[in-house]
C-alpha cells in the first residue's frame, strides 16, 4: 500500500513537473526521488512506474477530448508508427528516463 502511494506521489510530481516544465521534469523527478529514497529498495522502479502513470494519465486526458480522433487521423501519416504505438512509446520513454535517472542517483 505504501509503495502504491509512493508511486502515486511520484506520478503527481512528474505530472506537475511536465505540465509546467516539460519532458525533462521526468528524469529530474526520477533523480530527485531516488535521492530522497537513498538506501531504500525499489526506488528506481517506483520512479519508473510513477513517471509512466503520470504520462499515461496525461495522455488519457488528451485522448478523452472530442477532437482527438481528428488529431490522431491528422498525425497518423506523419510518423512511421500508428498513433497508439507512438503513445505507448511515449509512456515507455517516460519510464526509461525516470528509471535511468533514478538509477544514477540512487545508492542501495
Amino acid at each position: 500500500m505504501m509503495r502504491l502511494l509512493r508511486v502515486l506521489g511520484v506520478a503527481v510530481a512528474v505530472a506537475i513537473g511536465t505540465w509546467f516544465g516539460g519532458w525533462w521534469a521526468v528524469p529530474l523527478c526520477g533523480a530527485v526521488y531516488a535521492v530522497l529514497r537513498q538506501q531504500q529498495p525499489g526506488a528506481v522502479s517506483e520512479a519508473a512506474f510513477g513517471a509512466m502513470l503520470a504520462w499515461s494519465s496525461l495522455l488519457v486526458w488528451q485522448v478523452s477530448h472530442p477532437a482527438f480522433a481528428r488529431l490522431s487521423a491528422a498525425v497518423s501519416g506523419v510518423f512511421p508508427v500508428p498513433v497508439p504505438v507512438l503513445m505507448l512509446l511515449s509512456v515507455c520513454i517516460a519510464g526509461v528516463l525516470a528509471a535511468s535517472a533514478a538509477r544514477l542517483t540512487h545508492r542501495e
Binding site: 505530472a15 511536465t18 505540465w19 516539460g22 519532458w23 525533462w24 528524469p27 504520462w55 496525461l58 495522455l59 486526458w61 488528451q62 485522448v63 477530448h65 477532437a67 482527438f68 481528428r70 488529431l71 487521423a73 491528422a74 498525425v75 497518423s76 501519416g77 506523419v78 507512438l86 503513445m87 512509446l89 511515449s90 520513454i93 526509461v96 528516463l97 528509471a99 535511468s100 535517472a101 538509477r103 544514477l104 542501495e108
Partner: protein, 828 residues
C-alpha cells in the same frame, strides 16, 4: 560493486541515448522530448482544436476594447471603435486561426523557408532570392513614411499578430510548429511586403519571350509569332466590343519555316532547358490560375438589383489561402470578405454599398535581357552603352533552423534587376513586382470604404500596381464596372515585351507606364453585363498596344458570355450555378469537327466508334459523364502530332506548345503544312491527323479502361481535386475530391487537380446586401478542428453558404453565434 558500477554505467548510457533523442533532432524528426510530452507536445494540441466559447485577449496599443463575435461558420465579426483597433484585432484573430500559415507564406516570399523546414527548401529559397523578391521587400519598407495610414494599418495588424503569438503557451502552439520542432517568429511590416511579392510571383510571371525564342529556333520567327500571337485570334474581350458572339480573327498560319539563326544560337547558348523551370518561375498548366468574375446590371437581373460573382482560381491548399472576416467601425468601416492571412485588409468582398472581386490580367510585366559581362564565370561588370558598369553584388546566406549556414550565393544586379546565369549566358530581368509600392497594403482599406463601383476602381487605379488585376465592382446604385488595373510598362521600338532584348544598351529600357485612361475598362455597358476570365482584356481592333501575350484561352470567356447573353432575368442562384457550369466551349469548337472527320474517315472500327461516342456527348464535364476522358485523350494526341515540328531533337528536352486556341484556328485550314507529320514521307492533312488521333486515343483508352460507358470511363474516376497541406503532409491534405468541370470549363480542373476555385462569391446589392460564398477548406488552420475542412463538401458540390452580415454584435441571432472574444489593452 562491479555489478553496481555496470548498472550505473548502463543507466548513464540509456539516459544519454534517450536524452539525446529527446533533445536533438533525429533524421526527419524533431527533438522527441517536446514532441511526445503529453502535457505540452503533439497530443496536447488537441486542447486548442476549437475556439473556446468565451475568451479574452490583450493587444498592446489598443485604444478601446474590441468585441469579436464568431458566427456559426467560424467567421469573426470584429466590432471596433476605430480603424487601427479593427486592424489590430484582425491580425489577432487571423493569427489565432492561421499562425503557421502566416509564417510559412511569409517565409516563402522572404526566401527563408530553410530556417523553418531545413535544407530541403533550399532550391525554393534560392529561386525566391535570385528573383530579387526579398531585397525588393526590404527596399519597399524603407520607403514607407511612418506617419502615413499605410504604416499605421500595417503596424497595427502586425501588433495583433504578435500579441496572439506572445500569448501562446507551448502547449497551444500550432501542430506544425511542434512537428517541425520550431517556434513562431515575430511578424513585421516587411513580412507583408514578402507576402505581396509572393502574390506577384504567382500571378505576374511570364516566359513569353523564352517560348517565342524556342519556337523561333525551331520553325522561324514568322511561324513562331503566328503560333504564339500577341493578340488572341478568338476575341471575346473583357471591355465589350459590341459583338454578340466571339470574333474570330482568321489569318493564315504560316508553315513551319527555316529556324531563325539568332534564336538557334541563343537557344544553344542557353541550353536545352525548360527555361521557365531554369528561371524558377511557377509552372503553368492550362487554367492554372483560371479565375472568373462577372456582374449583371439591374436591367438584366430578376430582382432589379446589381449582381456580382467572382471565383479566383489559385493553387488550393489547406488551410486555404483565404480567411473570411467582417470588420465594423461605426460610421467608418463595414466590410466583409476574404483576407490573405498576413495582409491587413479585405482583398475581395463587399460593404453595404459596393462589392468587388478580381481576376488576374496576365499582363507581361517581366522582361528579360541578354547581358554582356566582363567575366563569364564571376562577373563584376556589365556593358551598357559602350561602357562597363559595376554590378551590385549581394551575398545571400541560407540558414538551417538552428542558425547553421547551409549555403551562400552571390547575386548580382544590373540597373534593371537581378542577373542570372543560364548555361553560358547571363540574363537579367526587370519585373514590376520588384518595383511595387508599399501603398498596396492600404489599397484594400480604401476599397472597403468606397461607396460606389467607380470610386472603388479609381481608388484602386491610383494606388494599386502589382499583380495587375481585372477589378470588377458593382454597387447599390446599379452601376457595374471593370478595369484592368496595374502597372503596365511601355517598351521601346516595337513595344513588345515578349522578345529577349539586348541588355548592353539603355535603348532597351522601359520608357514609362500606361496612363489609367488607356487601361481596358468598361462602366455599365449597354449589354447589361460584364465578364472576365483572364482573356485578352481589350479587342485589338479597339486598341492594339502590347499589354501581354500570355492570354488565357477564350473558352471560359465564351461560355460565360453565352450564358449571360442568354438570360435577361439573372438570379443570384443562376450566378452560383454558372460558377460550376460544366458545359465546354472548347468541346463545342472541336467535337463537331472530330465527329465529321470520323464519319468521313476510312471505316476503321475504332474511328467510327470514337466518332459515335463523341457525337453522343452533351459536352458537359459532369462527374458521371463517360466521354470527356476520350475527348481529352484525343486533344492530347492531336496536339502532340500537330506540333511535332516544335519538339526539340534532344532527348528529354521540352518544346514550346501552342494552346488549343491555335489548334482551333488550324482546324479551319485543313491543308496547312502544320498538319503534316515530319516523321513520315507522305503529306498528311487535317482529317488524317484527326482520324489518327481518334483511333490512337480510342485504342489506348479501351486497352486501359475497357469499353466506353464502363465506370472506369466516368469523369470522376479521372478528375478530382487535390488540396495539399502547406507542408505537403498527406494526412493533413485532402485528395480525391469530386469536381464538376474540366479543361476550359468555367470551373476548370486540369493536371494534378491542385488548382481550382479558391473562393466563390455571389453578392446581390439590394437595399440590404445579400451574399453567399464558399472556399475549399475551413476557417481553422488546426487539423484537429472541425473547421479545418468543414466547407469542402459544399464546395465540391457547388453550393454556397449564406453569409451573416450583422451591423452590430447584437444583430447576430443567438443560434448563429458560436464564440465570443473580447480584446482589451494590457492593464497598466
Amino acid at each position: 560493486m562491479a555489478q553496481s558500477r555496470f548498472g550505473t554505467l548502463s543507466a548513464l548510457l540509456v539516459l544519454g541515448v534517450v536524452g539525446y533523442i529527446c533533445l536533438r533532432p533525429t533524421g526527419p524528426l524533431p527533438p522527441l522530448g517536446p514532441l511526445i510530452d503529453p502535457a505540452n507536445g503533439l497530443f496536447a494540441t488537441v486542447q486548442s482544436a476549437e475556439l473556446p466559447a468565451m475568451a479574452d485577449g490583450t493587444i498592446p496599443g489598443l485604444r478601446a476594447p474590441v468585441s469579436v463575435t464568431y458566427d456559426d461558420r467560424g467567421v469573426p465579426h470584429i466590432f471596433a471603435a476605430n480603424t487601427a483597433d479593427a486592424y489590430r484585432a484582425l491580425g489577432y484573430v487571423v493569427a489565432r486561426d492561421r499562425l503557421f500559415q502566416i509564417e510559412m507564406q511569409t517565409r516563402a516570399g522572404a526566401g527563408t523557408l530553410t530556417e523553418l523546414v531545413g535544407a530541403r527548401a533550399l532550391p525554393l529559397d534560392q529561386t525566391t532570392r535570385a528573383l530579387g523578391m526579398p531585397r525588393a521587400a526590404k527596399q519597399r519598407v524603407a520607403t514607407i513614411d511612418t506617419s502615413t495610414e499605410t504604416w499605421r494599418m500595417a503596424s497595427s495588424y502586425a501588433a495583433g499578430v504578435n500579441a496572439w503569438m506572445r500569448s501562446l503557451s507551448r502547449r497551444a502552439l500550432p501542430l506544425e510548429y511542434k512537428l517541425l520542432g520550431r517556434a513562431p517568429q515575430e511578424y513585421g511590416v516587411v513580412d507583408m511586403m514578402h507576402l505581396l511579392n509572393r502574390m506577384g510571383y504567382t500571378l505576374s510571371t511570364s516566359d513569353n519571350e523564352l517560348q517565342n525564342l524556342q519556337a523561333s529556333a525551331a520553325v522561324g520567327r514568322t511561324a513562331a509569332d503566328a503560333l504564339f500571337p500577341v493578340h488572341a485570334p478568338i476575341v471575346e474581350p473583357i471591355q465589350p466590343n459590341g459583338q454578340q458572339v466571339a470574333r474570330v480573327a482568321q489569318t493564315m498560319i504560316p508553315a513551319p519555316g527555316t529556324p531563325d539563326s539568332l534564336a538557334v544560337a541563343l537557344r544553344e547558348a542557353l541550353g536545352p532547358h525548360d527555361l521557365r523551370v531554369a528561371l524558377g518561375l511557377p509552372e503553368r498548366g492550362p487554367d492554372a490560375v483560371g479565375s472568373n468574375n462577372w456582374a449583371v446590371s439591374p436591367s438584366r437581373s430578376a430582382s432589379g438589383h446589381a449582381l456580382l460573382a467572382g471565383d479566383p482560381h489559385l493553387e488550393l491548399t489547406l488551410p486555404s489561402i483565404w480567411y473570411e472576416a467582417h470588420l465594423v467601425v461605426p460610421d467608418t468601416l463595414d466590410v466583409y470578405g476574404v483576407t490573405i492571412p498576413g495582409l491587413p485588409g479585405i482583398v475581395i468582398g463587399f460593404n453595404r454599398d459596393v462589392a468587388w472581386t478580381f481576376t488576374n490580367v496576365g499582363a507581361d510585366v517581366m522582361d528579360f535581357y541578354l547581358e554582356t559581362v566582363d567575366d563569364p564565370v564571376n562577373p563584376s561588370r556589365y556593358q551598357l552603352d559602350g561602357a562597363w558598369q559595376p554590378l551590385e553584388r549581394r551575398v545571400e546566406r541560407f540558414l538551417e533552423p538552428d542558425g547553421a549556414l547551409i549555403r551562400e550565393d552571390t547575386l548580382r544586379y544590373t540597373h534593371r534587376g537581378p542577373l542570372r546565369r543560364i548555361n553560358d549566358r547571363w540574363i537579367s530581368h526587370r519585373w514590376t513586382v520588384l518595383e511595387g509600392a508599399a501603398r498596396e497594403t492600404e489599397v484594400f482599406h480604401r476599397a472597403a470604404r468606397s461607396t460606389s463601383a467607380r470610386e472603388l476602381l479609381d481608388q484602386m487605379a491610383a494606388n494599386y500596381r502589382v499583380p495587375a488585376q481585372n477589378m470588377l465592382a458593382a454597387d447599390r446604385g446599379g452601376e457595374i464596372a471593370i478595369r484592368s488595373t496595374g502597372r503596365y510598362p511601355i517598351r521601346p521600338d516595337s513595344g513588345r515585351g515578349d522578345v529577349l532584348r539586348l541588355g548592353n544598351t539603355r535603348r532597351s529600357d522601359w520608357l514609362g507606364d500606361w496612363a489609367m485612361a488607356d487601361y481596358p475598362q468598361a462602366f455599365s455597358p449597354a449589354q447589361g453585363f460584364l465578364a472576365s476570365a483572364n482573356q485578352e482584356p481589350i479587342d485589338p481592333l479597339v486598341q492594339s498596344r502590347y499589354l501581354g501575350a500570355d492570354w488565357e484561352r477564350p473558352w471560359r470567356a465564351i461560355r460565360i458570355n453565352e450564358l449571360l447573353r442568354g438570360n435577361a432575368q439573372v438570379t443570384a442562384d443562376d450566378m452560383r450555378m454558372y460558377q460550376t457550369d460544366p458545359r465546354s466551349a472548347r468541346a463545342d469548337a472541336f467535337v463537331p469537327v472530330f465527329t465529321q472527320v470520323a464519319r468521313n474517315a476510312p471505316p476503321k472500327p475504332s474511328i467510327v466508334r470514337a466518332g459515335q461516342v463523341l457525337a453522343s456527348w452533351d459536352r458537359r464535364y459532369t462527374t458521371d459523364n463517360t466521354v470527356a476522358v476520350l475527348f481529352e485523350a484525343v486533344m492530347t494526341n492531336l496536339s502532340r502530332m500537330l506540333y511535332d515540328e516544335l519538339q526539340p531533337d534532344q532527348d528529354g528536352a521540352t518544346g514550346p506548345r501552342p494552346t488549343d486556341m491555335m489548334t482551333a484556328m488550324l482546324l479551319k485550314e485543313p491543308t496547312n503544312a502544320w498538319w503534316d507529320l515530319r516523321s513520315t514521307s507522305a503529306v498528311e492533312t487535317r482529317d488524317e491527323i484527326i482520324a489518327d488521333a481518334l483511333e490512337l486515343s480510342f485504342d489506348e483508352l479501351t486497352a486501359r479502361l475497357g469499353q466506353p460507358d464502363s465506370s472506369s470511363w466516368r469523369w470522376s474516376a479521372h478528375r478530382t481535386a487535390t488540396i495539399n497541406h502547406l507542408l505537403r503532409m498527406p494526412s493533413l491534405s485532402r485528395t480525391g475530391i469530386p469536381v464538376q468541370g474540366g479543361n476550359g470549363t468555367l470551373s476548370p480542373s486540369t493536371g494534378a487537380g491542385t488548382h481550382g476555385a479558391s473562393w466563390r462569391m455571389v453578392v446581390e446589392l439590394g437595399p440590404n446586401v445579400e451574399a453567399r460564398a464558399i472556399y475549399p477548406g475551413g476557417q481553422s488552420g488546426h487539423p484537429a478542428s472541425v473547421r479545418y475542412d468543414d466547407r469542402l463538401a459544399a464546395w465540391s458540390a457547388g453550393r454556397l453558404d449564406a453569409l451573416r452580415v450583422p451591423r452590430t454584435a447584437n444583430e447576430l441571432p443567438g443560434n448563429q453565434r458560436r464564440a465570443q472574444l473580447t480584446l482589451t489593452p494590457p492593464s497598466r
